[in-house]
Subunit: 142 residues, 3 copies
């Protein structure tokens, strides 16, 4: 498998909560971080997703929001990953910002250039990568 998604996280399913149409799946990464994904129940059945099973989380860079000075707010987004800016690659309208998490994982985000300026995103600055659970695609190998 090769995917255009800049974010590919391998982990193990540690929790599944079933609903009528959707289910919430928790994936624990090797470094201990957890990702929460919401997928359809049909996918749970088709992929045989269950606690203990290896899975991969795929997240496109434009689905990742960045946040700084986050101490005064709590978000509905289930995934708030704290790290530091590793690199910024500017385009005309958008910029690609890479965040390095404490455990060394990298999170790729596409944000506007205006956002880069407003948040003062330069290498070394602390930032939180925010990802909605419903924006994560799960994959099962084999």
């Amino acid at each position: 498998m090769k995917v255009s998604a800049r974010n590919v996280f391998n982990g193990r399913v540690s929790q599944v909560q079933a609903g009528a149409v959707n289910a919430e799946v928790v994936l624990t990464l090797p470094g201990g971080e957890q990702l929460v994904a919401v997928v359809t129940m049909e996918s749970i059945r088709n992929l045989g997703i269950a606690v203990g099973k290896d899975a991969v989380a795929l997240i496109k860079a434009p689905w990742v929001m960045l946040m700084t000075e986050s101490s005064d707010i709590r978000l509905s987004a289930r995934n708030c990953l704290e790290g530091k800016v590793l690199s910024v690659n500017d385009g005309a309208v958008n910029a690609e910002v890479v965040i390095e998490l404490a455990g060394g994982s990298k999170v790729y985000s596409i944000v506007t250039r205006d956002a880069v300026a407003e948040l003062g995103l330069v290498p070394g600055v602390g930032a939180t990568a925010v990802i909605k659970a419903s924006h994560i695609i799960l994959g099962v190998r084999g």
Copy 2:
């Protein structure tokens, strides 16, 4: 809090409809407009989201679709905000288009340059900003 999301709307929760995994939350803005967001029940509990509580809706610009000549169609997207094009900032592939709503709120959208040309998006033209409820992140301050 500083976020890369170009759209930050402050409002008050006016309705919460609970499901098994997800809940639908209606946020009423100061100008009377309503935004509908779908978030997980876990977030509802963690953030203490309830009717009467202040909250903020965060929406990244690439999650906003634009529409013109909308009289002949109805969409499943719960948020269709009518306004006028305020500005267009072209990149190589994408363009940032700002829509000003009747109440003065601004909605930022990233669309392709081809879309700007096809829809004839220039300042002053009427356009509808379309946002899926599941693309909105809610935040609670404090």
Copy 3:
């Protein structure tokens, strides 16, 4: 209706599965391909979405992930559309890639330039367009 979404698929509703907050809708396209969308139950009621009804699926290009060498993985994303790369239009950070499906339908995707290089996306190469059901907006004309 004119929309900024690069992907507009006309079809007929062939299945609706209701949940508490969300519903899963299957849209069958004229060529026989199926698209699965997740929308809120409120939208199902407002639009009168039911089996046999004509509807249109709208998908913004940044919501489409591309995949190659997909034989070793199964994804939670309900929509995996196989085709060949028709064109690649490079920007500074992003690129627009058009995939042509077997039946002739075109799927537009915005991915990073790095992804285009890594996946070797050039005209003629086989690729799968991956779309989460919750990223599809449904429309009903009239």
